[in-house]
Symmetry: C3
Subunit: 343 residues, 3 copies
């Protein structure tokens, strides 16, 4: 917060070109909240009008904003430059190495170098925790689970037995990895549980949101590819495979054995049925219901329940409120009367 | 449970008028479950028939129920009177003050008077916990977080670093406040995390349901206004602002930077896209999908995906199953045949 | 993993008939992953083509698969036989009896025989934990709660005060049972909380998924019948009653006072409004919105928002993307022009 930096230096760090006076700035804030002495950014054009009113001393943007007298840090990718600028003012802090006397580390567990283990964290029998890992209070690493270097487990994360988590993985509070898949065989005496004896593997650089749940495979592996980002309260069923650099918004549900490709984008509250495939680069709108496989062809964007091409959905959605009208118009035609208002 | 109270006294406490005999009652229960000696209530007219069969000795209601010979506690607002009556029989209990020897309190943390801190609760560096706060086992108050007077944190609640929670706030088990917003800048090498360095502020008298998640702002503040009530498993994205006395049912998702007004009511499983506004007093039905801003004008109630006026939605919803019929009827018109059954 | 078993013996254990050579096998895997020396299974006919390519030494199936030279374990119910076979190779393991010195057991709590209580688990005042119960680290059994014999509570499970859980119940990490129902009476000064003084009762042999939440009744009891299975991230509102052997997929929401019968099946992300009934044996598709009671008559399967018979929904769903077309066709009819392409 207190750090000050010259705009020319900041420009170098974030890959931007300075236009305007080379003053010192001391922080970064949104267009509405920024005060003199701070930097802001314009990435979403929706905010252009509000950016014109900003009190910031410099704006990270694609091009200078007319009518605004401050300095500009110009770059073709203001959103990425913004990310880098925030890091300049708020460099990531790692908790001090050390294992709390109030933690529970099984004698057979292996802890890497410079780990931070908070109070009431648990590392169970035979688990392996990599170098520089942070286990916040109450984080639980089950029997034989493996946590890669530099991973961070926030409070009350649960890794069930045998789960494997990659390097630099960030697990938010309360997420659960490796719970039992939902599989039961009906019998005359009620349901018989299918033992869930597979596991989960989370690739490097994955981020998983708060209270998200990822079930272990019944046999084999539930897999989340490297670089993939999951938001909060998502459900990933057993034996699901998700590729790399895929982004999934909150409250999405993916049923068992579905396969989701690389660089897929899934909007919030969308649901995928089990045993289907979603191809690389597919984009699913919010609240979509996917019941069949979607290939990665020229039509990439889908919406609706059931999923249809997004453009079709947009047209359909506009007409939906007019369903009563079409029934009236058809009844009129049937009765032989002229169209309403001679339309 | 064991407490007994005269109906006349109870009437005074709950703002009702006694009609009938002034007997002692010893508890309160639903219309079906109540036994002689107990009070029940009729608020939802759907239950009128069942209320007629109640065995209760007194009914809290708007007006006497014909054919029912018991006493009545009459009031224009039976639901509120019911709430007050339950409090009479089940006065709120505060856990005894004291800090468990099995808790973890950082030396720089500040605890108010008469706090209750259960085993395995954590109060991190520089955090401030107000007077009479209850921290159930496993509750986690992060670095520099602030918890207002009389707040209650149930087991496994997580308050990330710097989050601020108002007075009398009730946080249910497993809810997470201050997790990272979901923001990533795409780069040729994969996604780059936008550091999430803002915070969350929860107003006084807010209640937040079990396993609900509220993300911190990337910059600035995610805000929940005073008196607002959130049910279980809700997702609130980064930089969202919710007004006062708003009520949100379970499994709702609110995407980043959305603004929700005062006295809004949102039904379960509804989703709001990011960067939009929902005006004061708006009512959103269950499973609604809101993609654009909704003003607080004469049309207050919305439903459907995408959201349309609730009345329009009702008409549309009735006709939806008849879509095959309209296709048949149009094909018939096109073929020049008379309408089906000469309708 | 290391155990080896003769196919004839395995056949006896799982109620199948061996056809082919009686060799020893050492494990079980999916059709794609199985290697020589392992067993696999074919239950879903979708996987027939892939089963033909399996490298497994034996296949559990209804009938021999043509073109596949391995042994077969034939049974009318391959899925159940598969469940039993997995148990042969992965017999359930119970954690060693014992109470961690790092747990917190109230002096008035009662622990049964051979319980396992992990570090940081809590058994509060007057709670009763049955024989052979497993409490994983961080599991919380609230004041006066009762846990039946052989139940397993995974990490960070929360049982609020007074909740009762049956025998052999399996509770996954982070699930919350007994949180407050969502009930507030509006007043001119804001919402007044309805005290939630009822409880929850979970029948025998119930399984509840990770981070699922079940609210206590305001008065009376929220009830989950024996043998019922709930997946992850489900919301069950206050005073809900769910019958026996019902199966509910992830992210379903059931609003207050709804009643769900026996042997009901509910697809993921479906929502039920409050105060309604869903009859025995009803099947609700994924993402269904149920606003009125659904009887258990000849039409058992429902889908859509609002719910309609599943067959109607299928036809409707096919036509939905063609809504723009029907508007065009009606306009054409109104204008007196011939139908498009003379169709």
């Amino acid at each position: 917060m207190g750090s000050r930096i010259l705009l020319s230096v900041l420009a170098g760090e974030i890959g931007a070109r300075l236009q305007g006076e080379d003053i010192e700035v001391s922080g970064i804030a949104g267009v509405d909240e920024a005060v003199p002495g701070q930097v802001t950014f314009l990435s979403n054009p929706k905010y252009l009008l509000r950016a014109r009113e900003t009190k910031a001393s410099a704006v990270i943007a694609k091009q200078p904003i007319s009518g605004l007298g401050c300095a500009f840090l110009l770059t073709p990718d203001p959103y990425l430059a913004f990310a880098l600028a925030v890091e300049q003012f708020h460099p990531p802090v790692r908790l001090a190495a050390g294992v709390s006397a109030q933690a529970s580390i099984h004698p057979t567990a292996v802890l890497g170098k410079e780990v931070h283990v908070g109070p009431f964290a648990v590392v169970a029998e035979g688990a392996v925790v990599g170098d520089r890992v942070t286990l916040y209070p109450g984080a639980y690493v089950g029997k034989g689970a493996v946590v890669g270097e530099d991973a961070v487990l926030h409070p009350h994360v649960t890794l069930y037995e045998g789960v494997r988590v990659g390097k630099r993985v960030l697990l938010h509070a309360g997420c659960v990895i490796g719970s039992h898949g939902f599989g039961f065989a009906p019998t005359p005496q009620g349901y018989r549980k299918i033992p869930q004896v597979g596991t989960v593997e989370i690739g490097d650089d994955v981020e998983i949101g708060a209270n998200t749940t990822i079930d272990r495979a019944s046999l084999g592996v539930t897999r989340i590819g490297p670089g993939t980002k999951l938001d909060n309260l998502i459900q990933v069923g057993h034996s699901v495979e998700i590729g790399r650099d895929t982004v999934i918004a909150a409250q999405v549900g993916i049923a068992g054995s579905a396969r989701v490709g690389n660089r897929v984008m899934i909007g919030g509250q969308t649901g995928l049925a089990g045993h289907l495939e979603v191809g690389d680069g597919v984009i699913l709108g919010a609240k979509t219901g996917v019941a069949v496989s979607l290939k990665s062809d020229e039509n990439r964007a889908w919406s609706g329940v059931p999923a249809m091409p997004h453009r079709t959905w947009l047209k359909m959605a506009t007409l939906l409120p007019r369903l009563p009208e079409i029934f009236r118009r058809v009844a009129r035609l049937e009765s032989g009367k002229p169209a309403e208002g001679e339309e």
